[in-house]
Amino acid sequence: GRERLRSVFVEVDRHFRALFAQLFGGGRAELRLTEPEDPFAAGLELVAMPPGKTLQHVSLLSGGEKSLAGLALVFAFFLARPSPLCVLDEVDAALDDANVERFLDVMEEVARTTQTRFLVVSHHPLTMARMDRLYGVTMLEKGVSRLVSVSLERALELRATA
């Protein structure tokens, strides 16, 4: 039990460091068990340093930086223990355009590597543009949702409706 948890930890940490550097375009980060001897009692700590900055408590990171660090962790779990499906609900809400592109590149790579299917909810045009297909959710009848296949053009139109 303890050995398996420790080995998963090592694997997730390895992926986390690589993904962090990819999502931040540099910098470094690592995972730490607060009690390396007893992983079941330990906490999982995050140490993160964006490129060019100083190592500080992760709480001080910006909203966008926290999103990227969180994504590095989620994808690291995925690479260590693949799953048939990954659902992401507006994980790009706090990201600027440059970081959205990096997030999309990493997600595409994870999808290719692990054969995982992704369901991605987003308001971001850049994200929509990278999807293999789009479903639009509408409420033409107020209070009642419907689903319909949409093209990218239609999706962008839907965004702008007042």
Binding site: L5, V8, F9, L33, T34, G43, L44, E45, S59, L61, G63, K66, A69, G70, L71, L73, V74, F77, A80, R81, S83, P84, L85, C86, V87, L88, D89, E90, V91, A94, M107, E108, A111, Q115, R117, F118, L119, V120, V121, S122, T127, M128, M131, D132, R133, L134, Y135, G136, V137, T138, M139, K142, G143, V144, S145, R146, L147, A155, L158, T161
Partner: protein
């Protein structure tokens, strides 16, 4: 294991039966605020065994049943069905599709059915935690949760690791 299709009926704002295909690659879900995107994410969580009403933004589990609109009366039943394609343990052979569904009736409670037979919530949660895709595992990131992963306390984050191990 693959998850190939999801069907919602009377679940939250999805009054009428609605099916969404879960195909290879990246599938995007778009639409204006409040149209029902996160409700679909929660339907998936719910059919996979989510046991907390608060985890679905409600105060009780019955909050997932269509509560009506300006033009329609509320429903008494909500049902979500998920199609699982094997191989998947002794549940489904290679390429075989089986149905997992969850149904809740107002005033009665919810029940799970797998391959037509009633199963317990625990069985469903175990089925998915093996593949590390479960209602609360690392594979479903709800709205607002990605930032919380970083802000949350260290011991909560370690539990995520345990669920993956």
């Amino acid at each position: 294991m693959r998850l190939t299709r999801l069907r919602l009926s009377g679940f939250k704002s999805f009054a009428d039966p609605t099916e969404i295909e879960l195909a290879d690659g990246l599938t995007g879900l778009v639409g204006p605020n409040g149209c029902g995107k996160s409700n679909i994410v929660e339907a998936l969580r719910w059919v996979m065994g989510e046991s907390s009403a608060r985890g679905l933004r409600g105060s009780e589990m019955e909050d997932v049943v269509f509560a009506g609109s300006a033009s329609r009366a509320s429903f008494d039943v909500a049902e979500v069905t998920l199609w699982i394609e094997g191989p998947c343990g002794d549940i489904a052979g290679p390429g075989e599709q089986v149905e997992l569904s969850r149904r809740i009736v107002r005033g009665v409670g919810s029940a799970f059915r797998l391959r037509g037979r009633e199963v317990r919530a625990r069985d469903v949660q175990n089925l998915f935690s093996d593949a590390s895709t479960g209602a609360r595992s690392a594979a479903i990131i709800g709205q607002g949760e990605i930032v919380r992963l970083v802000d949350v306390r260290a011991d909560e984050r370690r539990r995520l690791l345990e669920e993956a191990a």
